[in-house]
Each structure stands twice: as C-alpha cells, then as structure tokens.
Symmetry: C2
C-alpha cells in the first residue's frame, strides 16, 4: 500500500458535521460549475481503453487523504473519462436526465441513509413511494386499476430490465397455477414480443429459466410496430404445438425507432388467450404528461403491468424506474420470502406494503424522495412544458430531414426520436455519425432498421435548446 | 390537480446553476444538522400505518413549488416517518452506514449524471470500478483469482440478492453446458446452503426457474455453521436420486447469528463435486480489512464467486454491493445480450469491460465514485481502526452478557453481532426488546435460534461509541 508522505492530522477519522458542511459546499459548487460548463466538453469521452486506470495509483492508500485532494482528482482523473450525458448536445441512445431538484433529492436520500426494505424500517420511504406512484397514475392518465387504492399499485425499481423480469416472474407463476417458484420453470410456456422490442426481455427469459428459445419475436409492420394479426397467428401455431402463452410484451416507443405497438389490439389478443400483458414505455411513457399526446395510451386498461423510466425523460436522475401491476397480490405472492429476522408487527398486521416483496432485491434506498422533489419543483404544468418543447424540436428536425436532399427519414417520428439515413447509403450515414462523434460537438448513436444502418437523433436532454438542434442539423448537412 | 395560489415567478423552469448553489447549500446544511441531531430522534419511527400518506396532498401539484417549501416539508412530513439507520443507537438488523465522503461521492455521481452501461458511455465509470474492486482484493486479502488482471474480476451490484442471483445463473449455465439460457432451467439441478443462510438464495432459486424444492438446507453445528459432512451426505443422496449439484452457497457471517461456515471444507466438497462455490459475506466481509480477523478467509481460494456489502459496515451508503467471480467469461457469457443499438467500436475490440454483461440491469450509475471517495478519505488504516473499535465493543458487550444473571449468549459472537436471550424465556426477551424499541432509545431486532426467540445486538453503526453501548446494556439490565 502506498504510504502518504504527510497525512492530514485527523486522517481516517469520520468526517465531522463541520467538515461535511465545508466539503459539501465544495461539491455543490463543483456541480454548479459543471452545469455551467458541460456544453464545452467533448460529449463522448475521447479516452482510450485503459487510459483512466493507468492514471490511478496501483495500491489503495494506507493513510486517509484530504478531501480537496480527492475532489481535485475528479477534475484531473475522472473528467477525461466522462461521456457527458448531461450535455445539451447529447442526442444518443435515450436521455438519462438529472435536474437540480432530483440531484438534491438523491443527496438528501443519501444523507438520511435509510434502508426501506420493510415498511417498518422507515414508513415514510414506503408511503411517499406509494403516494407518488399514485400521483403518476393521475399525471399520465393511466388506468385506475394501477392505483394502490384499487387492487394494483406501483413500485420504484432501478431499471426497466428489472421491471420486465418481475412481470415475467409473476406471469410465469400465474400461468403455472403458482407452481413454478416451487417446482421450477415449466417447459411449455411461451412469451411474445415484437422483433423491435428491447433486449431486456431476451435477458429476462434467460434469467427466469424459461429459455430464450421460448421467446417469439412477432413480425412488425412498415412503422416497426408489432402486428396483432401476426401475434394471434403465432399463438395459434404454438397452441397447436402444445405450448401455452404466458406473457406478451408490447412497447410504447421502441428503443430503435420509437415505434408504438398497437396496445389495444394486442391487449384484446392477450385477454382472449389469458396471457399477461406487460407494456414497456421506458422513455416515451413520459409523453403522456401531455393530454394531446395520450394517443399512446389506449389499451393500457388491458395491461397486467406497465413501466416507464422517470430517469430517462422526466428529469429524475438514474436510477428510477416506475412499475405498476394491476393485481399486486400476484406480484407479492411471486416474490415474497419471509425469514424470521424480518418479521415485525406491522408486516404481520397486513396493513402495510413491504416493497421488498415487489422486486428482486431485499434492501432499497429512499428513491421516491427525488421523484417527489422533481414533481413538486416542476409541477405537472412545468414538466409538460419541457416535454412539449422536446417534441416540437424533434418534429421540426424531422421536417428538415424530409426536406433535405441528403437525408431521409428511416421511420416515422411520432414523438422525440428521429431516425434517418443518408441518401448515399449506409457508409455515408456511418461516416457522418463517426465524424460528429469524434469531433465531440455532439453524440449520436445508431440502429438497424429494414437492414439499413440508421442514425438516431433523440431530443430529450434537459438542457437542449433550439440552438443545439439547429447546430446539429448544420453539421449533418455539412 | 391542486391549484397553487401564488406560483413562484419561474415556476416549473429548470433550476439554474445559481439556484442549485443556493438550494444545494441548504440541503448540505440540513444533512449536517441531521448528523448533529440524529441521536435525539426515536430510533424506530413511531408512525402508524397510513400516517405519513395521510399528511400528503391527494393530488400532485399543477404548478411548481419553491424549494424552501419542499425542504420544510421534509421536516414536517418525512422525518416523523423515518427509522434512523444513522443513529448511533441503531443496533438492529445489520448496519447500513453512510459517511461524509460517501454521501458526497453519491452527490457527485448524481451531478455528473452518467449512465455506464457500456465502457464507451463513460470510460471512467467502468475503469474506476474495476480499479477499486482490484484495490479491495488487496485490502481484504482475497485470492488473486478475483483480480481483473487474472481471469476473474469484480463488479458493483446493488445488493447481495442480485449477487447471488448472478452467481446462480452462471452456475446454472455452467452446469448445463451453457444450455439453460436457451432451453430453460433443467429439472435435475440442486443447490445447497445452510439452514441459516440468507433468504436471498431462496428467492434466487425461484427467480432462476430452478424451483425452491431444489434447494437443500444443510444441517448446521452447535455454532449454527454449515456441517460439511452433512453437505457431502446430502449431495451423495441427491446424486443417487439422479440429481446434479449446481451450486453451494457458504456464508461468512450469517444474518441471524454471524455464524461462519467452514468455507475450506465446503470448498473441498465443491471441488470434488464440480459445484459452483458462492460465498456470501454480506456484512462480515468488511472485517477482513484487519489482518488479525482474516481467520474468516480460508477457503476463498476455492470460491467461484464472493460477495460483501460495502453499504453495510464499510461506510458507503446504500446501495453498494461488491461481487467477484473467478472466471469472468462464465458470467459474461451467461448475461450478455447484444442488440444492434448498443454496438460500438470499443466493445467490438474486446479490449474493454461492459459491465451491463455482469448483472441483471442494463443501465448503471457511477456507483464506484462513492467507494473511491470512502477508501481515499479513510485510507485502509482508518477503515481498520473503526472496524476494530466495533468488534472490541461487541466483544466487551458479549462479556457483559456472559457475566449477567439475567441474560445469556444464544450463539458465539465472533465479530460484531451479539445474540442473547433472557434467562426467563422467550416472552421476557421479546418484552425487553419491545420496551426498548417503543421507548425510541435504541432499535433492536430478533431472530430464532434453536427454536428460541433471540435478541440481536449488532454493533457497527458509524457513530456508535462506547457510551451508546453501555447505555443500551443498562437499559437491558433494568
């Protein structure tokens, strides 16, 4: 271990409240300056593999170091290895927004340091979460069946990957008469989703022991949305072969192209077949804050579970996924294990929610605090205003693409994601993307649609204004 | 939605950097005061079911509110519903420590707002994590096979529940010749753990589709540690019945009583049987910072995976679980799914780690930052000093129990957890616990050992000093 030359006098002691005040203000100031300057950094980190590690000392420090030294190293050692998701020129993947109120909610949660595995281990952690998730049902115009005051209810998960896993586990249990937890996953259960669905369903199939060969990728239409007729036909074929439909995952806003599956028609098939309907609206669910965009919502009244990520487009820093079920008893029965050391009077009374039974993890932090801060800071009206601005910018951008002689749309642009390709072909598209990414002026990523290399421009970063979007378009047209 | 009477002038706008400075300092000050006063609150929240929710407005705010108002509501509405895990009088469950450097690391991570699913989405997020987990191998005296520079490597997960799930999935794949992901979980795989192991293994068995009827709870000895002879016998019996051993989970410090399973002997059985050995040292792994406590480590050189929680006893706020595997290829092969929209040059080169392939989730935040802050602030020497103090206090406490005419030890107290029962029987034990918990002076929880109701006193909270422990003992003797 490296010996420090001159250890600070109180090396290795706990930070006192006064030291915390001083260093806390330093970090707040650091972040405020980062907010002010984030636009100046190359958006995608130019670091090469191993570069960041090579600058770190090989051995851990034997003696504690001063906080100023650590914070200086963030500038010196960490920043060069940061891809700036909070840059207004970040148009890659999906946004992963933070915001002032969200950061401060996360800070307060870390400062309180509660662990909310049970209602009794911090009642506020559970009750604020239940309450805020009920608020979101109203804010997004979700069906009442997802309210905690009905038979359903919501929970915060870390990611949509865990949300779909939990949906799949509950669906697996329901489809086996609640036997798969005891006896293992049944070999006759089949799951359906579109060929454009997120990879998390593939991963969940593996994890849940169903096997990805039991996952059917249903054909999509010209707009890359799942075809309900193809779904019905595939189920019929599987039934004839002795399989049983377990779950169908519909997507409201696919990752590749923001395609909106026809949830109502898919839901009708699910209802007829007795299959669990899970709806993944990871980024696009936020759009439903705006009544005029609620055309994405029909059919949700047929869903057994629904999920979207406030940590994408709703200014709540990662991780924060919202997940609702229509019947909480199915979920809790699937995921509850009660050892003696967790028993307590409140749980035994049956009057409280213990969220540990709503997800894979046992422990959980006070995630709802930042979401509560965000909703209160912005108000529903404020959140709507920012979402509308992003959608309007994306629609304007899509119009430029349509009028361009160099570019063409590669998919419909229903909300805030524009998919485009260069008229000169895949290499030209890739070349433009690489050039912009290398320059650091913006960050874009790609997908494949209809076997073509496609550039994705997702407009949803908190600080993105019209000038960033026009500048991006100028670079693409150069 | 509730209409606010007088919205602030910029209601619903993004918080400016200057507003963030001002409100950030307010939250820092709030936390510093909380650190100074946490001892004064009743440790276990006295809230009754529904009390916190009932005080919250039924409708979300239509118009954004001022930050001071939100922060005032934390005092008014949230604090009464907090069970104070950071109180020095918290002796329940296991500790879930935060600390100044950890809170500030979490804050900085929220402020940077990066999403590290791929190396390329922020190289520093991946490389600092790999580096710090290699540091921990040295700090804890773990076998070199867990170093990233060997065939193994470490990753941060949220909880030990997800760590054991990932271990089980990789073990399931290995035991089936990497067929279970495709074809579903096999019905002949059996998993073994002690009857005192954590419930997360029961849950993982259900999730992974193996079924909990395939989990064998091996008998333990008088100190509640797994009996290797009983393990070998059970495996032999299962083999004769046509089953195949898949994984054995050994525990270094059980939740109930801190029992230390004989990992070396269990590992020898695993080696002979070709079973995956997973070692769960959730709280007690931290003890290995101290060379004189490394008697808990023998046998780890036989482990395929190992996990402990810096978020318990190592002053790093929840969530932060460290998980190592001896062969990272098995884990990555088990959990990797690569859709087109995540492809990038760095991943294709094979030169980088993409941690999304090391756990269930796709997205991940910069969790390593707080761990890096903690290790640098304390230094290895500082961390050791605090761990030694907790162990010394617990040993002193155990001595008092042994000399008491009212209380007796209910299990060996090898480290920082003391299990005790009242000589007048279970009702007396429960009565003393309830009385102290109701008083708010301290918070204790229970377990059952040898069919007796047992009080657990876990000494590991950051701010716990000798005076808190002596005061607890006085109350127990009252």
């Amino acid at each position: 271990m490296v010996k420090s030359e001159s250890p600070p006098p109180a090396a290795g002691n706990h930070m006192t409240p006064d030291e915390f005040r001083r260093h806390g203000r330093q970090v707040i100031e650091w972040i405020a300056r980062y907010m002010e300057s984030v636009e100046e950094y190359p958006v995608r980190s130019p670091a090469t593999p191993g570069q960041i590690r090579d600058a770190l000392p090989a051995e851990p420090p034997e003696v504690g170091e001063g906080f100023e030294e650590i914070l200086a190293d963030v500038d010196r050692l960490i920043l060069p290895g940061i891809t700036h998701w909070q840059s207004p020129n970040f148009f890659a993947y999906f946004p992963s927004n933070n915001s002032g109120p969200s950061i401060l909610g996360e800070l307060l949660s870390a400062g309180l340091g509660v662990q909310g595995m049970l209602w009794s281990t911090s009642p506020a952690c559970t009750e604020v979460e239940t309450h805020v998730l009920d608020w979101l049902v109203a804010m997004l115009g979700l069906p009442d069946r997802f309210l905690s005051t009905s038979r359903g209810g919501g929970v915060l998960q870390d990611t949509a990957s865990n949300a779909v896993l939990c949906a799949l586990l509950a669906a697996r249990e329901r489809a086996t008469g609640f036997q798969s937890n005891r006896a293992g996953a049944a070999g006759d259960l089949v799951v359906y989703t579109s060929e454009h669905a997120h990879s998390s369903i593939d991963k969940a199939m593996r994890i849940a022991g169903l096997g990805h060969q039991q996952l059917r990728k249903v054909a999509s239409d010209a707009a890359f949305a799942m075809r309900p007729d193809a779904l019905a036909r595939q189920i019929e074929q599987d039934r004839r072969a002795g399989y049983k439909p377990c779950l169908v995952m519909a997507t409201v806003g696919t990752t590749s192209s923001n395609a909106i599956d026809p949830v109502a028609e898919i839901g009708a098939v699910c209802e007829h077949e007795g299959a669990w309907l899970h709806v993944d609206a990871a980024m696009s669910g936020t759009a439903a804050l705006c009544p005029e965009l609620r055309w994405i919502q029909p059919g949700l009244e047929l869903a057994d579970s629904y999920t979207f990520n406030p940590h994408k487009w709703m200014f709540t820093n990662f991780d924060c996924n919202a997940f609702w079920v229509a019947d909480r008893r199915e979920l809790v029965r699937t995921l509850s294990v009660l050892p003696e050391y967790l028993r307590n009077a409140a749980s035994d009374s049956g009057e409280v929610i213990d969220y540990r039974d709503w997800h894979v993890q046992l422990g959980r932090r006070f995630r709802a605090l930042k979401l509560w801060f965000v909703i209160r800071h912005y108000g529903v009206e404020g959140l709507r205003r920012h979402v509308r601005q992003h959608v309007a910018l994306a629609q304007e951008f899509a119009g430029w693409v349509q009028q361009s002689s160099q570019w063409e749309l590669a998919a419909p642009a229903p909300l805030n994601l524009v998919c485009m390709r260069h008229v000169d072909g895949d290499e030209a598209t890739r070349d433009r993307m690489e050039r912009i990414n290398r320059s650091g002026a913006a960050f874009l990523t790609h997908t494949r649609l209809a076997d073509r290399f496609v550039l994705r421009v997702c407009i949803g970063q908190r600080a993105t204004e019209r000038r960033h979007v026009t500048r991006l378009w100028e670079r693409l047209e150069e």
